[in-house]
C-alpha cells in the first residue's frame, strides 16, 4: 500500500525482476522486524475507545509485551491509534498531528466512529471515519472494541509491516 516493494539499490542488476538480492532482502526483513517490534504509539485518546486503549496499555492486557510504549509527542511515535469520534473541529488537528509524525507512520482506526463514523455516521458535526482525513492502515471495528480486538488489530499491522518493501525516495 503506497510504498513500492522495490529494493532500494543503485545497482540495476540487483533491482531487476527476480533478483532481489540476498543482502537487501535480509536488510528489508531486519528493518521491518525492528519496526514491527517497537511500534511506539501516540497517546491520542478522543472518546470511549480511548478508555479501552488505556485498558489495553494497562496491567491486564499490557501493550508492552509487543514493544509498544506510549509517547506523548507525535514526533517520536510511529503509530497513531485514532480512538474515538472525529468531528469537524478535531479534523484539522488530526491532520496536523499526522503531518508531524516521522515516516514510516501507521494509523489504526480504532472503534466504529474512527472507522466509519460508527453510530454517529452522517450527523452534522461528525467526520465519517478518520480515513476521510488521513490514510488508515488497519481498521478495528467495535464500539468500543475489546482490548483483545485492538491487540488483534496491532498483530495485523505487524504482519503488514513485515511484508512491506523498502521505501524508495524519489
Amino acid at each position: 500500500m503506497g510504498v513500492n516493494p522495490v529494493v532500494h539499490s543503485g545497482d540495476p542488476e540487483i533491482n531487476a525482476a527476480g533478483h532481489p538480492g540476498v543482502l537487501t532482502t535480509s536488510l528489508r526483513k531486519v528493518l521491518n522486524w525492528s519496526r514491527k517490534a517497537s511500534l511506539w504509539y501516540m497517546t491520542f485518546g478522543i472518546a470511549c475507545c480511548a478508555i479501552e486503549m488505556m485498558a489495553t496499555g494497562a496491567s491486564r492486557y499490557d501493550f508492552d509485551r509487543f514493544g509498544m510504549i506510549f509517547r506523548a509527542s507525535p514526533r517520536q511515535s510511529d503509530l497513531m491509534i485514532v480512538s474515538g469520534t472525529v468531528n469537524e473541529k478535531l479534523a484539522e488537528r488530526i491532520v496536523n498531528l499526522y503531518d508531524q509524525m516521522a515516516e514510516p507512520r501507521y494509523v489504526i482506526a480504532m472503534g466504529a466512529c474512527a472507522t466509519n463514523g460508527g453510530p454517529y455516521h452522517g450527523l452534522y458535526n461528525v467526520v465519517n471515519g478518520v480515513h476521510e482525513i488521513i490514510p488508515v492502515d488497519v481498521y478495528v471495528p467495535g464500539c468500543p472494541p475489546r482490548p483483545e480486538a485492538l491487540l488483534h488489530g496491532v498483530l495485523q499491522l505487524h504482519e503488514k509491516i513485515l511484508n512491506e518493501g523498502l521505501p524508495v525516495r524519489a
Binding site: N125, I133, I134
Partner: protein, 214 residues
C-alpha cells in the same frame, strides 16, 4: 411498493416496543397496558393544593413579582413564565429573596418551538430548602434575543454560549458570547428544527498520496 411493504409489516410484525426490546425470553409473558391518567399522572400537570412549603414559596413569588405567572407542578417543581423584558428582574428576585434563595442554576437551555419561537428554560434550585423552580421565557424566532443571566448566576455562562451555538439565541450582555462546541466559522445553528447539513462529501484518503506529498 413501499406503502404495501409497510402495510404488510404492520400486519405481521408485533408493534414496536411491545415485545423484545428488553429481552424477556426468561420472563413470563408480559402484560401490556397503557398507564391510565389517574394512576400515572404526567409530571407536567398543575397541582392545585400544594404542600405547605411550596404554597408559601408561590405566595412569596406572587407578592414579590406582581404580574408573573406562577404555578406548582405535580412533581413539585414551581414554574414561572415571564417576558424576556422581565427576565433578569425575576431572576435577581429569585436569587436574592431571603426566603426563596434560588442560588443554584442547574440548567439553562433552549427549545425550538417552531412558530412560537425559541423557549429559554432555566432550572433553579435552592440548596438550603431544596425548592425547585423552572423559569421560562419565549423569544421570537426572527429576533432571538434574550437578556443574559450571567450577572445573576455566573454559572450560566457556558450554558448560554451553548444555547447560542446550537440554537442561535443571542444573550444580550453576555461577556463572551461565541461558539463553544462547533467551529468558530460554522454557519447555522444545528439544533434548530430546520437546520440542513450542507457539508460537502469527502473522499477516502490513500496513503500513496500522502507519501508523495511528503
Amino acid at each position: 411498493m413501499a406503502d404495501e411493504e409497510k402495510e404488510l409489516q404492520s400486519q405481521e410484525a408485533p408493534a414496536e416496543g411491545s415485545r423484545g426490546e428488553h429481552g424477556e425470553k426468561q420472563r413470563p409473558a408480559r402484560r401490556t397496558r397503557t398507564p391510565k391518567k389517574e394512576e400515572a399522572p404526567g409530571p407536567h400537570d398543575t397541582l392545585e393544593d400544594l404542600p405547605g412549603e411550596l404554597a408559601r414559596a408561590v405566595e412569596r413569588i406572587r407578592a414579590g413579582l406582581p404580574g408573573v405567572e406562577v404555578r406548582g407542578r405535580r412533581d413539585h417543581w414551581l414554574e414561572i413564565r415571564t417576558e424576556p423584558s422581565r427576565w433578569v428582574e425575576v431572576a435577581t428576585f429569585l436569587r436574592d429573596d431571603p426566603e426563596l434563595r434560588f442560588d443554584y442554576l442547574a440548567l439553562l437551555t433552549g427549545i425550538d418551538r417552531l412558530d412560537d419561537g425559541f423557549e429559554v428554560v432555566v432550572h433553579l434550585n435552592a440548596l438550603t430548602s431544596n425548592l425547585r423552580l423552572i423559569l421560562r421565557t419565549q423569544v421570537p424566532r426572527e429576533e432571538p434575543v434574550c437578556p443574559t443571566l450571567t450577572g445573576v448566576w455566573p454559572g450560566a455562562n457556558w450554558h448560554e454560549r451553548e444555547a447560542y451555538d446550537l440554537l442561535g439565541i443571542r444573550f444580550e450582555g453576555h461577556p463572551d458570547l461565541r461558539r463553544i462546541l462547533l467551529k468558530e466559522d460554522w454557519v447555522g445553528h444545528p439544533l434548530r428544527k430546520d437546520y440542513i447539513d450542507r457539508r460537502p462529501p469527502r473522499k477516502i484518503q490513500v496513503k500513496a498520496d500522502w507519501e508523495r506529498r511528503a
